[in-house]
């Protein structure tokens, strides 16, 4: 196969991440050429601040050194800036004349620091803070000069100021806004932060606008080198052109104040670097405009990722969202065509040692929001949580940020927090212990653990080992930490803790994965959502087809992925996709439930919990004939025959079948039972015919496969004798009709079902319940029960589809009926000789000693 040519412009964090992902997905698809304006490999830009502060060295922060490019067959043109893209001939040209042709072009040019258009901006000693070169200039200046001014009190400005102070300079931060970091912090938080930075020696001029930068000779005329002149004094300044090499000496503010400055760091924001793209006439609007597949809207051969991009009108300036873009982009470049980038919620963490600041989401609040605030001025702690519609919309914290990762997760997942509300402010461990849900997951305070604390009990990994692996190997995600340290790779109960250590070590660059974003299993990198989407979008009809299309890593999958794939296939393409019995758990394959001794249980369906003398007689006869050791009434209103030998299964089914009984599917990820109470048929309180409704529902749903088991109940009145309040779908009769509840669960963790809708007729009950179950069948991940599914997507989402939109409801309902059309009776099917044979044990005689010799001879003959 001839490889396609991929050229990447911009050798930074987002671009190289994309290349790494492509190498994972499709290592042989491309011949890759990379142009980078900087003369280095790819380094971890966000760690420039610790380098400036003297906490790390440049070699510590290299992510991909030059050897990495060579090892992966990538041609790297380091120190060469691309100046032209010829979209017609599909060639890029660099400033030294180097050319490269492309089939696919990836722009990852990052952004440019915004340089204030003030006189003196080009003087020596005036720099931005963006790359290794800037950092080196700052380190050198700190060694020989005294005064520094940082223009811009945002995240970067403060990190720069902090580093320069640690290197011995006298630093003033000039900031236009009324408080520092106004894009990440509200005023009280910023004031607290400012106080702790002032305690480290940082000075601030707030609400201050820079008028010009003065050079040495200008200062000489003022006769005031090194001394700030008083405000209001009118001073004549000399504008110094770039033709002189006089160094910057001071900053004059609009209000007249003059601040001495041998070094000026401009940190007043960034602008997406779109010059090259604009010259190539790609549509730009505060960034190169891309679609959800990270392709430019102008030219589908050209992709763009990183800070240079504008996605749905947003340009991101933090690593975590850029890495998400990189993953999606790589997936499309590698030709899989699944995954969409849908925008990100971001969080911020200031990397100033000893000062803890965290903010995420909408932290300002305002109309329609509630705020929970804790403000301990003396203790230096401020926390504000912003709630909207029972969800956490944002959080800002100064002084104690231990629960930042947890709050951020709640913001991103958009979870309903009304139950947690009273305890939310006190952090994860406290809130969860009050819900009886502490588990192993979330001990917060990861940052406070000593390095020697054992984090992963299974593999004996300590915190210190994890932290140094993260720093040394440049790890950003849980999976990478697992691979390199083995922490949380076995039982997984320490996952929450490892994630927190990761978050507190790498700050904003932490790539949080919610649990649904994890791969299905070790056989693939794809998540449940991606596999589902691929099955639908590429119309895949068999397990081998899915594995081929998605480049499964194992030839035939495993016991985890195959049942999930089988479900996605048959639920997405009913009557078309191939149902593979060998990819089902034994219970579904044998249509009976395996017991601890290898025998099986047989549970005939009793529609709505009803039976009659003929059925009972047939059950009694079968129990005697097949010597069934235990006959039991189940919790699901029917009779269980336990301890049947596998060899006898086809025969006992045939006997029960003759009495009209079919499988109860008591074994499947499928419809189980519809429990009923006696209802208005007999009960003096009954308002509706519960038994009749229950039988109708059970018949309608017969043979329904689902992500997990599904149980229903119909009660004749709100006394709910059939336990409708804890069922996947629970129906409660009332005088004027039925109330429908969904997403209840009576199992491992009891969940009360939530009210979905009230309807008046039996047909509406069928349509509404059916539409809900079809939505669940189409959207839930394998092994997600209705309560977990609804918790993930939100009841509002379900109501919008099923209650508010009648056309959508009918569509869902019709798709369900289509899928269930002609649902086979698996017990009858297995009477057929070819299928029944599998249940039979094959006897071979134990061979007597004297016959052995003859037999061996006859075999070899």
């Amino acid at each position: 196969m001839i490889k396609q040519k991929l050229v990447m412009v911009g050798n930074g964090m987002a671009g190289v991440k994309t290349v790494e992902e492509i190498l994972k997905y499709a290592p042989d698809a491309f011949e890759i050429t990379v142009f980078g304006a900087e003369p280095h490999g790819n380094y971890n830009r966000i760690l420039l601040s610790p380098v400036l502060a003297g906490e790390m060295t440049l070699s510590d922060i290299m992510l991909n050194d030059l050897a990495w490019y060579a090892d992966n067959g990538i041609t790297l043109h380091a120190g060469r800036k691309v100046v032209q893209v010829d979209r017609v001939r599909r060639i890029v040209r660099a400033d030294d004349g180097t050319e490269a042709a492309y089939d696919r072009l990836l722009l990852a040019t990052g952004s440019n620091p915004f340089i204030l258009p003030v006189p003196g901006k080009d003087l020596p000693g005036v720099i931005a803070y963006r790359d290794i070169a800037d950092t080196e200039v700052m380190i050198a200046a700190a060694a020989s000069h005294r005064h520094a001014v940082v223009i811009g009190g945002g995240l970067l400005g403060l990190e720069a100021a902090n580093g320069l102070i640690l290197r011995g300079m006298d630093v003033t931060v000039v900031h236009l806004g009324d408080w520092i970091m106004e894009r990440q912090l509200d005023r009280p938080a910023a004031e607290l932060l400012q106080a702790s930075l002032e305690a480290k020696g940082m000075k601030f001029c707030l609400g201050a606008q820079t008028a010009e930068l003065l050079a040495v000779e200008a200062m000489a005329e003022l006769g005031a080198i090194g001394v700030a002149t008083s405000a209001g004094q009118s001073q004549r300044s000399v504008r110094v052109g770039s033709d002189t090499d006089a160094r910057v000496a001071a900053v004059r503010l609009v209000d007249g104040r003059v601040l001495p400055a041998d070094l000026v760091v401009m940190s007043a924001g960034i602008r997406p670097n779109t010059a090259l793209a604009e010259a190539a006439r790609l549509h730009c609007d505060r960034g190169i405009v891309v679609t959800d597949t990270m392709q430019t809207v102008t030219d589908p051969r050209i992709y763009a990722v990183g800070e240079c991009v504008s996605h749905r009108g947003v340009a991101y300036g933090l690593v975590a969202p850029l890495f998400e873009q990189a993953k999606v982009c790589a997936n499309h470049l590698a030709g899989f065509g699944i995954g969409r980038y849908q925008g990100s919620v971001t969080s911020t963490k200031l990397k100033v040692t000893g000062v803890d600041v965290f903010s995420a989401g909408d932290f300002m609040g305002g109309d329609g929001c509630d705020e929970i605030v804790l403000h301990d001025r003396a203790g230096g702690i401020y926390k504000k949580l912003v709630l909207r519609d029972d969800k956490l919309a944002g959080a800002v914290m100064v002084g104690d940020t231990a629960d930042g990762a947890w709050y951020f997760q709640l913001v991103r997942e958009g979870k309903d927090v009304s139950q947690l509300r009273d305890h939310l402010m006190f952090g994860q461990s406290f809130a969860q212990s009050h819900l009886g849900d502490a588990g192993h997951q979330g001990q917060s305070q990861a940052a406070l653990l000593p390095d020697t604390a054992e984090v992963c009990g299974c593999n004996g990994v300590c915190k210190g080992t994890i932290v140094s692996a993260i720093k040394e190997k440049g790890l950003f995600s849980l999976d990478e930490v697992r691979k390199h340290t083995k922490a949380s790779s076995s039982c997984g109960s320490c996952t929450g803790l490892v994630e927190q250590i990761l978050a507190s070590t790498v700050g904003g660059a932490y790539q949080a994965t919610d649990k649904h974003a994890k791969p299905v299993c070790g056989c693939t990198d794809h998540t449940h959502g991606e596999v589902r989407a691929a099955v639908r979008e590429l119309k895949l009809l068999s397990i081998p087809a899915v594995m081929r299309a998605l480049d499964w890593k194992t030839p035939t999958g495993c016991a985890t992925c195959r049942p999930a794939l089988n479900y996605y296939l048959i639920s997405t393409w009913p009557h078309e996709a191939e149902d593979d019995p060998q990819s089902r758990f034994i219970n579904e394959r044998a249509h009976a439930n395996i017991q601890k001794d290898g025998t099986y249980s047989v549970v005939p369906r009793m529609w709505g919990g009803l039976t009659n003398p003929t059925e009972l007689r047939a059950i009694a006869d079968a129990a005697e004939k097949y010597k069934v050791p235990t006959v039991k009434v189940t919790g699901g209103q029917r009779i269980d025959l336990l301890g049947v030998k596998k060899d006898d299964l086809p025969a006992i089914w045939a006997d029960l079948g003759r009495a009209g009984m079919v499988s109860g599917h008591a074994y499947g990820k499928s419809l189980r039972t519809v429990k009923t109470c006696v209802g208005a048929e007999h009960c003096r309180f009954g308002t509706q015919l519960a038994m009749d409704m229950g039988v109708k529902l059970e018949k309608m749903l017969f043979g329904m496969w689902s992500p997990h088991k599904v149980k229903l109940a119909v009660s004749g009145c709100p006394r709910n004798c059939a336990e409708s309040g804890i069922k996947d779908v629970g129906i409660s009769g009332v005088d004027s009709g039925y109330e429908i509840y969904v997403a209840g669960n009576g199992g491992i963790k009891t969940e009360v079902a939530q009210f979905l809708a009230k309807v008046s007729t039996d047909d509406e009950v069928k349509e509404m319940s059916g539409a809900f179950l079809q939505l669940y069948r189409e959207e839930a991940f394998y092994l997600e029960r209705t309560c977990h599914y609804v918790e993930r997507v939100g009841l509002e989402h379900v109501k919008r589809q099923v209650v508010a939109d009648p056309a959508r409801r009918r569509d869902l309902y019709e798709r369900l009926l289509f899928a269930l059309k002609d649902a086979p009776d698996p017990w009858a099917e297995h009477q057929a000789e070819s299928l029944a044979k599998q249940f039979k044990t094959i006897p071979i005689k134990a061979v007597l000693e004297e016959n052995r010799h003859d037999l061996a001879e006859s075999v070899s003959a």
Binding site: T554, P555, T556, A559, Q582, F585, A590, I842, I844, V847
Partner: protein, 105 residues
């Protein structure tokens, strides 16, 4: 030990198994990818679960069965439980000859 004829290969479903009764001892005969056939004592090293009823995956040296009771993975070629679990199920030699499966018992 003697070679005994079991059944035609096609009587064992692909990625499935049949149970052979050898004088009261149950032996599971598995068929994995590439028409490879393996045989183990039909008892999981964990708590004796019937391995014949598990999900079979992989092929050759990597073929394995997942026990239906608690999900241990057992290598079909070796009979050894896959890490982190430990234990071993007795294995029997097999071969295929003119479409028939033979077992060395």
């Amino acid at each position: 030990m003697t070679w005994q004829k079991v059944c035609p290969l096609d009587d064992i479903p692909m990625f499935g198994a049949r149970v052979v009764d050898h004088g009261g001892d149950a032996i599971a005969v598995f068929r994995a990818d590439g028409d490879t056939v393996f045989a183990l004592r039909d008892a999981c090293p964990h708590k004796g679960g019937p391995l014949s009823q598990g999900i079979v995956s992989g092929s050759g040296e990597n073929a394995r069965v997942t026990c239906p009771l608690h999900g241990w993975n057992i290598g079909l070629a070796s009979g050894e439980a896959c890490a982190p679990d430990e234990g071993c199920s007795h294995k029997f030699a097999t071969r295929i000859e003119s479409g028939e499966v033979w077992l060395d018992v």
